[in-house]
Every structure is written in C-alpha cells, then in structure tokens.
Subunit: 538 residues, 2 copies
C-alpha cells in the first residue's frame, strides 16, 4: 500500500515552507530545547583538583544553573577531556526540571547542532532535520507509518490491540521503526544521522501518541473518552528506542479528538497570540476546528470523511506521478496539470476541487451538484456504474456519486465552522484570518475552494494555508523551549464543543449540501463569477 | 578467597545496630526518598473525562507538586486503574528536581514499602533491606565484592582498567552483580525481592563509586587527584542494571581519599550536627579521620596498613569459625574466646588487640613491644622464622614482627588524630566523643584498645563504636531525603589536610611507636593498671 503524501512529490523536499524568514528574525532570541556549548577548561592541578564534571558544571552554572549529567556523559569524561586538552563541547537538553548534559565531544562542535521534529500521522510520518543553530530545516522526509500494516484506519488498529498487549507492542514498534526509517532517509540525504541530533519533538493525535508510547488506545474512541494521559514527560530517546542523545518531547492533548497535532497546529498558526479572531481548520479524515484569539479558543472536532484526500473518488489517488492536480475548463475543453507530466492516471485532492469548481461555474453541474448532461457530450451515462459521469481525461471519469460524497464532506467542514461561529455570535466578518492546516490545503486553489463552498468567501489574503501546521509547531517548539508553557496556556483556554448530537447542526449541514451553499448570498464573489460566466456563454 | 567480614558471624544478621530506637522517634517526621500512596480515585465519566494520569496527578498535587510518571507507569495505567476499581497505590521516588512516579499497583499496598541501602566496600558489599514505613531493617547481608577476582586491593583493579575500557566494564559488572547477589540473598531471607523495592542508597569510597558507575578510576590514585566526578545524580535503577523500580542514589565524595563512605559515616555519627567537637576515625587498610562539629570539619586520610584487620599477623584471619576473638591472661595462662567454639585456627582483629594488651599489661612485652622471654616459657625463639614468638594457643604463635607491624599501624592512626588536633590547637580534653567507624571497632574491647594506644585514654563512655557507619548513613538517607542537602553542607565544611609530606608528622609517629605511647602520661589509666598489675606480681 503506497501512501506518499501527495504534497511531497518524492521522498525529499528541502526547506519546504520552512519559515526560514520567521526563524531568522527570531534567531537572536532563539532559545531552543537543546544547546551546544563549547568550553575551554583549565586542566586540573594539585592546587585546583576539582573533578572533571565540576569543571564543566562550574562553567555552565551561570547560564544553565545546576545541570544533571547523563550516565553516558559521566562515562565519557575520560578520555574526552584529557585527549582534547580540556577543550570540549557539551550538548544540553532541556527538561521541565532543568538542563541535562547528554553528550560530550572533543573540540568545538557547537555549530553541529541538530534536532528532529516530526508529525506522527496515522498514514504518513513526516520528519524534518533542523539545524538548531540557524533555525533552518536541512531536509524533510515523509515515510509510510508502518502501522498501516495493522490497519489503514486508526480504529482497526485500536481493535487489533484491544485486550492484546503484545499487539500494542507491535504498533509501538511500528511507530518507532517509522521514525528510524525517516532518520535514515534524512541521513542519506544530508549526511547527518540521529547520533548527531540532541532532541526530537513530536506532534500527533491522541491515538497516535498512545500507540507511540505504548499506552492502550481504546479509551480514545470509547465513552467516556478519558485518555490514559494527555501529557508525556520528556523521556530519553533510549527509553523510546530512538537514537537521539537527548530527549523526545511530544505535544500534549486537550481531549481525545483534540490531540497534540491540533495544539501544535494552533501554536504554529499563532491564533493564541493574536488580538484578531481567527479560524483554524484542519481537514482530513477527521476535521478539527479552533476559533479564537489570545483570550479564548473554542474547539470542535468531527468526522469529515476521506473524500477530500481523494479516498472516495473512484479515480482518486494520492498526489504522486500521474495525478491530475489542477483543472481548468475552457470552451468545453479540460486543461489539466499532471504531476510529473505524462499520461494522467487519476486525480488528487487539489484536482478534485478544481474540477468540481469548474464544472459548477460553467454550468455542467447545478447548485445541488447534479450533472446537466445536455451541456456537454463529455457527460455520459455510465452503464457499469449506472450513473452519470464526466470524462475529465481520456478514459478517466468523475462520477455523480463522487460529487455527492465530496459535497457531504465539505458541508460537514463548513457546518463545523458555521455552528461554532453561531455559538459565540460571530460571523465571518468578525474573523481576521482563516487558517487551513493539513496536507490538503497546501496546493489547493483558493478560488476553487471558495467556489465549491469549502472555504468561506472572504478576501483571499485572509485565507492562509498553514501546510503541515502540526509539524511547523513541533519545529517551533524545538527552537523555542518556552513553547511547552505556551502549549499549557493553549490547553487552558481550549473549550471543547461537541457537535453531532445537536439538531441545529444537522439543519445547518443540510443547507450546506450545495455548491457553494443553498444560500448563495453567503458567496458574493461566486455569485458574481456565475453571473459573468453565464453572461459570456449566453 | 573468603572474605566474610569478621563481624557478621554468618551470612545474615537481623537488625544489627539498626538504630530502631532513633528511627522510631523520628518516624513522625519521617521523610524518605520514597513514598507509597494509596489512592481511591473517581472513575471517569463523560462529565469528568480527565485522563487516568491526570486523576493521579490531581490527587498527588497538594502534597507532591508536579509528579513525573515513568514510561512504565504510563504503560501500567491500563488495566491497573480499571481492574482495581480505581483503587491503586503509587510508588514515588524523590529526585533533586521533584517527585517521580515509578510504579503502579492495584489495591492498597502502601504498607509494603521497601528500599535498600548498601555499603560498597572493596572487599565486602553489605546491603540492608529496609521497611521504609517503619524505618526498620528487615535483614542485612554481606557478600564478597566480586571485583576481588580482578585484584584483592583497589590499586591492582585500577591498573587492570588502565587503558582498557573493556576491563572497566568487567569491574562495573562485578559491582553490579555483587549487589544482585546481595538482593537475592535478602530475598531468600525475607521473601522480599528487588521488584518490591523503590529506592537504593549506596555509600562507598571514590574508587568504588568510579567502578560502579563505569568511570575510569585512575584519577583516584594519580596526581593531581582530580576525580571524574564527586557527585552522581539519581539514576533509574535500570540505567545501572539494578532491578529496583525507582532510583539509585550514591553519597558524594569530598576528594579522592575522602569518599562518599566517609561523608556517609560522618552523617551517621552526627558529628556535623553537634556543638561539641568530636573525632570520627575510620580505620581499615586506609585510615580516614574527621575532627569537628557543626561549625567545621577538618579531615585527613592516609595509609594505615592491613595489620588491624588481621591481614599481616602470620596467624591472623577474618572473624569466622575458629578465630580467637578475645584473650585474657590470668596467672600465666591464656583464656581464649573462639568464634563458633572448637579448636582455634587463628586470631582476628579484636583478638590481636586483646592479646597485645594482655602481653603488655602483664609485662610479657615492653613498652617498645619487645618480647621479654624470661617472663614465660610460652615465649620462645622460633627457628624457622628466626624470631621470638608467644604460643597463645596450641601451635598458634604470635610473632615479634606481628607486634612491630601492628604498632606501626596503630601509631599511624594515633598520629593522624594527634596531628590534626595540634593543627587546630586542641587536646583530647576538648573532644566530646571519639567515634570509631568500620568493622574493626565493632567488637573491639575498649580497655584493650586504649592499653595498646589505639584509642585515646578518655572516659570509655566517650568512645563510641559506630559499626558500619557508611551503611548507617546510607540507611539514614533512604529514610530522610533532606540528607542530600545535609551531605552538601558536610562537603562544604570539610577541610582536607594532607599528611605525609610533613616532617612534624613523622616525628609524632615515631613517638607513637610504643605501647601505648612513649609518653605514658598521655595514658593515665594504663599507667595505673600497669602499677597495679606489677604490684600484684611483686
């Protein structure tokens, strides 16, 4: 089973959305989870016979207070100090309870200061190698989460573990091995392996974190939805089977459906630091939503369905070689962008949104998403499937049921936002920025996303694609250790609202099951486009 | 090679000098390195869906602040909480930086709260199993230090490791295996194994500690005598290969010859807490000396030689079956106490001191320790050895050279005390108590020790045998976690004075090479005894 994230276009992307500018600006104040400190120490004499470690501790005290050496560091004192003429570099890792010395090296290696950040997704594990001195990403890889072998979806994996602790161990090992594979891929690409890395930050949803740390995850999906733990202390890499010399940190969760990935994402979006009210939407198989600012954060989560990621569309595929990624309809002819060029093999998320937007704007489907076969001979009744479909590329069809499925999903996403906004008496006019997180948003054409009603019809500048916000937040944490405290503040502000049980929610959702919405007045630019296009075709 | 400590008289002694009374008194204020806390938690509901760990943390917060769970504890949350109906016992271990949760058990096991303390000696490892709720010793064992296989004395072991890190690993493993053997012996005796123990405190000299933690120990015996480290953080048992669920703590050292064993001993003696000035003397192969009170601690250390432990005396042996342990001379006849009864096979430390005191007081040897053969036919010229000797038991001889060796050793001990006292302008009259630590002092007859000039001639009540003070200090620490801070205060007060190079020291030593001393006026009660005995024999 292939599961390349469609936005990676290959194993390795250098500095994709690495926010170098942001980090560069903050470099002066950079206060990461790790430090490398070069020390030139005085050699012991009979007059000054302080121990080797005392010399190091004394040199570090002013800046780092009491530092606890790992056993490996104590064991490395000799001959590292003597052989280097007492010129050594100490690697420090931060824990809630002070600094720990985790590695000694002879000479000055302070500029070789690396760490990892990772997004532990249920399908894909994305890992970035970070130069912690410059704050730059040196490389990024995504690998399959090896847990897929135990079930494509999380629920299957959870049931696989139920009452089978040995199965849980398999899933924990699979998560760890995915990280190890990513580390090796980064080593091949950069020449820098995990033994050179001090710390690692991880963001993932609650179920993924339970798997990673070897905690039974059944609680994530079973009433009363009380997790085993929301927080994970910083553990030595070794305790988790990861070969970094320092510690591994994972973002805390707010609740079962509001995991560390969302907390990390909110952090990356800066929602919690702004005066203006923002919307943070992460849409994938599940949709997670946060609305708020520095004073409050209202949250919701619900199932969205896999349609947005090409999972339901019959010719849907991940964003890899041969996938149609952009679609324009001009004079009844489809103009396609195909990843890697060549013959199209299917269509990925951004292509689906483009295609549907074009079909709708040009009147090939109506506001309910129903094909209007009379408008083009490309729309045909398909005997095998017993439904209407459009041939968007030679022998590739986009079906009526694909559209229906997609509209349901985008209606769910739209309704989560609308419902929460109503709860606090706000409209889109009160919102500053609309942050879209997740792989899905990265390559999406904003105009198309508004046209189908997935995004609200606001100034396009106010719609921000955050990319893998979970990963960005993890990287920010790696470079700013006070982020631990900030995430606590985020957790403290987060108010969780349950959808689903609410009648109102269903009514809102039915109204949203249209292109872009049954109330077209909510989408003035789409209305204007329709007016222009229908005028032109007249 | 047998190496039973002669004061143990068998593998196991229950509550030997366990200071039950002292601990009982302090029980109310007992604040150990570990705690077991029984909790009855509320089951999660949809209204209160706090995580399992949050429930525990919330219940512990008031008393213990933020508690860090070990990975094992997080992994044990399920099914421990559910299966026990949320009635669980949490084991807590203290670190410099706060409390850590290290074990979960279903139900109330708070009364099963155990720990170990140990004295890691170069020859013998003594370990005690402690009931941390009552503060009582449940059992004590001593086992050979398995490092003996690599050299009977420390220096041989150090050279074995020099430039051979793999040899150092062998010695580290040997120390660990000695602990494991002791734990198993304690399990056989008490039914309580290491899996039931939370914490372990260890005291030992600097070389032993370097071996135990796997640090190259060459620095201990080579100029400039700067150790690798004087302090060891609390590490998880697992990091050191020890199966306790909590942490292992080792006393810090002041300098190469003033190790954690002495710091622990001073602590046990209470020297550092008293207004009166006390003397703390630990005599074995090396002699360590501390003079002081709550305001100052003057320290010295030097080689004493193995004579006091029966190591040089030709028929000397450890205090085991067949050893002469006490000697009285009445009307020219030796009255002997033999360990285990039966035929004497040799003589142990307390026997040697007794024998020499009796020989001297009854005029069989003169003040220089020279035999006076005319006084008894038991003193004979031994052809094979070409020296005078006394037959103290059938076919067991005590030689002139044995006496000379012993006098040198006791002169060294005496002179260390005298030299340090002079440095600060004190005499024995200024001293409250004279604390004798180490196996040697435990069974020694005080009168005999004074008669030969090993102990000063002060009120016998002021001479206190501390037994294995190093072990007692380790036990105290286990039961009083603030001891960590107290040991820092002790280290801060300790002033180290070097002997040896000093001319004055050698002059004092020569003067002390007599029975009890060339200046008999320093020993008025011995002078009086000599007067009475010589009067009676007239």
């Amino acid at each position: 089973m292939r599961s390349e994230p469609w936005y990676d276009r290959g194993k390795m992307l250098f500095s994709l959305r690495s926010r170098v500018e942001m980090y560069e600006k903050e470099k002066a104040a950079m206060e990461g989870l790790s430090h490398k400190i070069y020390l030139e120490l005085e050699e012991p004499t009979e007059e000054d016979s302080r121990s080797s470690w005392d010399r190091i501790q004394d040199a570090l005290r002013e800046k780092f207070g009491q530092v606890l050496p790992s056993l490996a560091v104590l064991q490395a004192l000799y001959p590292c100090c003597e052989d280097s003429g007492w010129k050594i570099t100490v690697s420090l890792a931060y824990s809630e309870q002070g600094w720990r010395a985790v590695r000694l090296e002879p000479g000055n290696t302070a500029n070789h200061h690396y760490g990892y950040c990772a997004d532990l997704g249920s399908t894909t594990v994305v890992m970035r190698l970070v130069d912690c001195e410059s704050g730059r990403s040196l490389g990024q890889v995504s690998v399959n989460n090896r847990q897929i072998a135990y079930g494509a979806d999380i629920l299957t994996r959870i049931f696989y573990c139920k009452d089978h602790p040995e199965h849980l161990q398999e899933l924990t090992a699979a998560a760890r091995d995915s990280f190890l594979e990513a580390m090796e891929a980064l080593r091949r690409a950069t020449g820098i392996g995990p033994e050179s890395c001090i710390c690692m930050t991880v963001a993932g949803n609650a179920a993924m974190m339970h798997f990673f740390y070897g905690l039974d995850p059944f609680c994530v999906f079973a009433s009363p939805y009380a997790l085993r733990t929301t927080h994970f202390p910083a553990y030595d890499g070794g305790a988790l089977g990861l070969p970094v010399c320092g510690m591994v940190y994972s973002s805390p969760a707010r609740a079962n459906y509001l995991g560390g990935d969302i907390v990390s994402g909110v952090l990356a979006s800066g929602l919690d630091r702004q005066e203006e009210i923002g919307v943070f939407l992460d849409i994938g198989t599940n949709g997670e939503l946060v609305i708020g600012n520095q004073d409050f954060l209202l949250c919701g989560a619900g199932a969205a369905g896999p349609a947005l990621e090409g999972g339901v569309v019959k010719t849907g595929m991940r964003a890899e070689q041969g996938a149609v990624s952009y679609v324009k309809l001009r004079d009844g002819v489809f103009h396609l962008t195909v990843i890697g060029g060549g013959t199209p093999r299917g269509i990925c998320g951004s292509g689906i949104v483009d295609l549907l937007a074009e079909l709708f704007l040009h009147g090939w489907v109506d506001i309910r998403g129903k094909f209007l076969p009379e408008i083009s001979e490309k729309i045909q009744w398909r005997e095998p499937e017993q439904e209407w479909a459009v041939e968007y590329a030679p022998d590739l069809w986009f079906y009526q049921s694909d559209i229906t499925e997609f509209i349901k999903t985008k209606a769910a996403a739209h309704t989560m936002v609308e419902y929460l906004m109503r709860q606090i008496g706000l409209t889109m006019d009160d919102v500053g920025h609309f942050h879209v997180a997740g792989a899905f948003g990265t390559y999406l054409d904003k105009e198309s996303a508004v046209a189908v009603g997935l995004y609200p019809d606001i100034d396009r500048d106010r719609i921000v694609s955050e990319g893998n916000a979970s990963l960005e937040g993890a990287m920010y944490w790696l470079l700013h250790r006070r982020t631990g405290q900030r995430m606590e503040e985020i957790l403290g502000k987060m108010e969780y609202i349950q959808f689903g049980a609410v009648d109102d929610f269903l009514h809102l959702m039915v109204a949203a099951e249209a292109l872009p919405h049954t109330d077209l007045d909510q989408y003035p630019t789409v209305k204007e486009k329709l007016r222009k296009l229908s005028g032109r075709s007249e």
